[in-house]
Symmetry: C2
Subunit: 879 residues, 2 copies
Amino acid sequence: MNLAKYVYLFSEGNRDMRNLLGGKGANLAEMTNAGLPVPQGFTVTTEACTRYYGDGREIAKEIQDEIFANMSKLEEITGKRFGDKKNPLLVSVRSGARASMPGMMDTILNLGLNDEVVAGFAAKTGNERFAYDSYRRFIQMFSDVVMEQPKSAYEKIIDAMKEAKGVQLDTELTAEDLKDLVVKFKALYKSAKGEDFPAQPVTQLIEAVRAVFRSWDNPRANTYRRMNEIPYDWGTAVNIQSMVFGNSGESSGTGVAFTRNPATGEKALFGEYLINAQGEDVVAGIRTPVPISHLRDQMPQVYEEFSAIASRLEKHYKDMQDMEFTIEDGKLYMLQTRNGKRTAASALKIAVDLVDEGMITEREAVLRVEPKQLDSLLHPQFDPDALAAAPAIGKGLAASPGAAAGQVVFTAEDAAKWDAGGKKVILTRLETSPEDIEGMAVAQGILTARGGMTSHAAVVARGMGTCCVSGVTELTVDYENKCFTLGGKVYHEGDFISLDGGTGNVYAGAIPTVEAAISGDFGRLMAWADAARKLEVYANADTPKDAKQAVDFGCEGIGLCRTEHMFFETDRIKAVREMIVAQDAQSRKTALAKLLPYQQGDFEGIYEAMGARPVIIRYLDPPLHEFLPHEDADIADIAADLGITAARLRAVVDSLHEFNPMMGHRGVRLSVSFPEIAEMQTTAVITAALNVSKKLGISITPQIMIPLVGDVKEFIYVKKFVVKTAEKLIKQAGSNMRFKIGTMIEVPRAALTADEIAAEADFFSFGTNDLTQMTFGFSRDDAAKFLDDYYEKKIFESDPFAHLDQKGVGQLVELAVTQGRGANPDLHIGICGEHGGDPSSVEFCHAARLDYVSCSPYRVPIARLAAAQAAIRSPEDKK
Amino acid sequence: MNLAKYVYLFSEGNRDMRNLLGGKGANLAEMTNAGLPVPQGFTVTTEACTRYYGDGREIAKEIQDEIFANMSKLEEITGKRFGDKKNPLLVSVRSGARASMPGMMDTILNLGLNDEVVAGFAAKTGNERFAYDSYRRFIQMFSDVVMEQPKSAYEKIIDAMKEAKGVQLDTELTAEDLKDLVVKFKALYKSAKGEDFPAQPVTQLIEAVRAVFRSWDNPRANTYRRMNEIPYDWGTAVNIQSMVFGNSGESSGTGVAFTRNPATGEKALFGEYLINAQGEDVVAGIRTPVPISHLRDQMPQVYEEFSAIASRLEKHYKDMQDMEFTIEDGKLYMLQTRNGKRTAASALKIAVDLVDEGMITEREAVLRVEPKQLDSLLHPQFDPDALAAAPAIGKGLAASPGAAAGQVVFTAEDAAKWDAGGKKVILTRLETSPEDIEGMAVAQGILTARGGMTSHAAVVARGMGTCCVSGVTELTVDYENKCFTLGGKVYHEGDFISLDGGTGNVYAGAIPTVEAAISGDFGRLMAWADAARKLEVYANADTPKDAKQAVDFGCEGIGLCRTEHMFFETDRIKAVREMIVAQDAQSRKTALAKLLPYQQGDFEGIYEAMGARPVIIRYLDPPLHEFLPHEDADIADIAADLGITAARLRAVVDSLHEFNPMMGHRGVRLSVSFPEIAEMQTTAVITAALNVSKKLGISITPQIMIPLVGDVKEFIYVKKFVVKTAEKLIKQAGSNMRFKIGTMIEVPRAALTADEIAAEADFFSFGTNDLTQMTFGFSRDDAAKFLDDYYEKKIFESDPFAHLDQKGVGQLVELAVTQGRGANPDLHIGICGEHGGDPSSVEFCHAARLDYVSCSPYRVPIARLAAAQAAIRSPEDKK
């Protein structure tokens, strides 16, 4: 007996079934049940997709049978018959995953046509041009999507025909032209595939379903999922829906619209449509559509109806909706609704407005903004003065906000290459396609000649928080010579340009930028977030400037102040090197004495920036060879500078060589060998804290963090020197200042022996970068080479250095928290690896009962919001 | 109120108080209570030592008071008074830890003398020469031990005086000479220390106790403890015992003896003594003592009494005893008894004999042999034919058995240096001292000119299982010119010589050796061990030769057959390199096809050696760059050989460079990237097993082990290729052969996710080398540089790569066992890191409920014995 049900009519579903029906399917069902004008159809479930992969990429007979059974029901509902020559039922076949993945998977329209059906369809509609336009579109899409033939080959045939006919637009081609096109398309198909284009609608349908399932595993979908943390095993559903035709003439059309502006959040219907077109014409950006407001004049009744539906949907879903619609011979059909993707600024405004409109609560509003989206608001904007002085060389659509300056590149591959080389690039394309996604991800900004606000470039850039100017119609791009012309001037690969995603302006040269600030909607939402969250948010900052920035972004302390970065500065690296080449503790102390005033000054600067907020200072961590030269020429120079022979310096460099420096003589191990380093750093920390406490009239409690501890005895050994040095200085100063000493938990053994360490430590800070390296046995510097194989082979779905591995590394974190708190209930526990600014990792930290997360200053607001969302979502915090 | 009692009279203790009183103190108490002739005294406890270190190396007032209070009791018992000029009580002050550490800590005799007391002592004894001999010894020892003045400075004065007087022996010096010596000694003391030699007996006593406590922390004691796994925090007790004098004349003497022969186990009193001498004269090997059997003629009554006591003590302790005695004016005193250190051969014979004598059970006998001692029996002995042909160049005492060939070195430092350079050395010394211990540990053999069977060299070498020939009286050593003369010929540093520790013969040149075998007492004891143990013992073996050796040593299977070692052989390394430089899967497969017959042949050889015993074959593990050259010249040669350009090969080498290769592209990660490697190896394993099963008419079940798995998906991915390849071959062969596939647990994450992995695996094998590296974050290749600091600073007491870290790494092992068995009750679990042959680690493996340990062939008997001891000692197995 077969218990599984793999196919649901739209009328059988609802919005709560999105895991099974996908977002599109669930919402089509919801709209159907709400009585909205939805072309009917059915959804093949995500479970069928999972089964397809489980069965070795085969669609089981029982699923095929269920699809055909539902096709019969659909024939009954529509009164049309699939493959019928007189009254044919045509369908669209579209993907629809649980999470929206715009443009990542495939769609086929007008399925069910063949040479005989199209003739009947033409006769029935009395519109031969429309019928053959539909047919040629179908062949083109089917060949591309199902048979994986290049789309461009078909477009070349169209372009040739338009040229031959002397016309500009597809719509100017006649019925005869389109018939001719169909013949040519089928010939191309046959010559490429060695067989005829499949004429059987039933074959077409199953092949199309198979193609949608397959597209779940295509490279761009895999990349998108990895970037958006969507699990591979979710699978996609497939929606089979009876066609309505926006391309049936001048009283037909198709469009997409948002209930509010997805770029700004403004409360007004926002969108575009094209008359006499099918859906992909709008999204692909081939013809530039007109604003939705024009529809009010062109088809006032349709506009009113659509406007009312939009408003109703927004109220129903209590969020901004992104809708697809088609008008067939003056009648409106809804093809899709979903919560719309939006820019960070728009997300903030919409969330705040919905609260003000009484639609949602403040806590709900906090959940409405993707934490990582905030990134785009936190990065610099153009310096207004410099901007005012810069003459624009062109203008397009303000497709995705932000300011970007960089060097022009023309392909996604070059973007990736230049980015890897440390360059900032503006990816410049006629239009973008899903294949470009990796290049788009690394670009500072994206510039396209074609495409509207809902073109691929615009949608993807907004999702990424990347600045984008699209549809710069005067822009001509010459890929072959790697240059573009704009405003009568030629710009070459490598030239600097700047984009303003807020205005659509394009500028020559690199315009300087200024810092972002948190105010307005952003400020209100962050205040709600701060009220909701339980985790404290600290920043990783090594300089007074970074500390200041972090405070501006709302950090409550510094969770990681790395002292070694200070050692590299030119005025002090010499003393560092003298310390390293010292042959005994005494000369090492002499060199350290030279470093002391620098370190003290550094810490005073940071304490002044932070005031009484906690600052956790980590002692010297990297292996000493990092401070020495390795090339012969440099060695000779620096040896002369240090007053020793090059041979001697070379010998020191060689003696410090390590096979696996990541697991070598670093962290606490340095302080064990050379406790005088810890003494010097303690002197600097304590003296700085005493001085600044006095100067500002505040009470600083210095916090000293020993890295890489793996055994409590290491900690105790170094702690002894720290405490002795600190107590002496505090006593000398006649102060009663307190100080804390804690450790990083970044070696698995530290987590495993956390009870012993906690008994001696005031705080723990999880260094999840190293902890991830050692728990997996992955060298971060080397793993990139093979991790691609891991993604490709579905062994990993995300980079464990970006998203905390909860099953493995997370287990050690939880163990250490439980053991640590058991041994020392006052233990203050946080995380200072890069995961501290990653929303899913922050959510884990909340669940693991950490006290704080620490991340880079620019990620502080992200962490604040993510912490709030974690608190609101976690069961014990639900109000 | 003070609850602690820090000092015990001998009459207050017993043998069960060894943790508190140390071994020496507990046994002195036991002998006292048994009515044996023990000079009375008291013991300052190990807790006082711990307190001394806790108090910053100070002896607390209350402990000093308790010492003096007991000194008063001792005065009462002896009827003498400490510091009295007429009837002075003199005492010895000697260390005595819980575990015997011969020669590692300090001893002071004759304490309580000063210029006035010595005069009274001379008058009372009527023996001025004896009194001043005792006094000069005291000054010399006190200066050395308490004040850390070099002993040699004092010896030079004695040597000068003997030369001036024209005498050979100390005993030939007159009373006047000795008085003169005392004056000179005190002058030397004052000139070196800037103050007078301490005259107050009370001061002498406390300083001596302090010196013994301090000596617990001296470098040679620390080294000894690390080698013998004695915890630092045990501390040492101090025994203060009234002096009896072996140096009071010709009817006095002192000696050491064993109830059975510590070299052979022969049941006969064995030992040495010196007339008119104090204890250190015997142990230090300065004068060569005479065999204990001579005492029978020289002092028949004393001999009979001693012989009876020895026999009584052996019965009491049910083990061979090592005793110190002194004869004062014809009266016997017992100064110490303890279970004697012995060679492995002796330990086996004694254990077996004690069973045969009905003194102990077979299970008790199994506990009587130190597993790691067996090592000395398992290593090669001289080839008897080659030995017969080799003319001895000299003969000494057969101080520690075994055969050794190596190059002559003259200092412990050189021994260590040459050993580090991969050379085998014979450490040649006039006599050894505790400072030489590290050099002795690395030497193949030890040759000394002076010293008897109980000299430092002999005792230590036996403990280490190192071959030693001592007391080669004709040997003259010239340290300055780094040469020695023996048999009229000069041998220089670097010359090869051979030692036979079983006969005491010394040979020129390196004599070839032959393998050892398990038979006789060894065989009987191992049979008892096998009956007792629960752990299976496998071997790590990569070649048929090693496999055969391991079977001879009693292994029950191969737990780790490393396949990559085979890749390095000259006839196949080229194909390996072709595989690595291949640019696509097809050319990689072509190269692998060349390797296949070699691998198959390797496995056939191993299966033939092992028969139906389990053989676990681990797939390719090391990073590929290990198979490529790195020097330009080699690259040019090998590129030519491979038919590619040097630039191309250099590019491949560079692309394979890793920052932390230990955590790089290796293990299962290679098979994920290149599953064709796993396919080739599977073809080789399965075909070999099919062929050998057929040839030998047995049923082999191949076991395939995937290394470095950290996530079950890695395992599943590779398993798929293995299973598919294997099933196809088995089916083709028309066989019903079964096979198993398991994984190493060597990445912390594998242990943390063991439940998931176990659900897919047939077996786990803990690779504790890598697991230790990653759990500690220690690169084994680099850690040696800083681990010395860790030992010195008492952070680590032993090398975690030698003895499994039970708290950290062990926790992961226990977790993985629990989780793994929970998910798969049939899971077979073992360990194949080097810890598999370390007795304390084997004990842990037993407690952790592993099924087997796997170790190098030579360690198989050690592991068998250690596993048996663990089973006998573990509570649930106690019968």
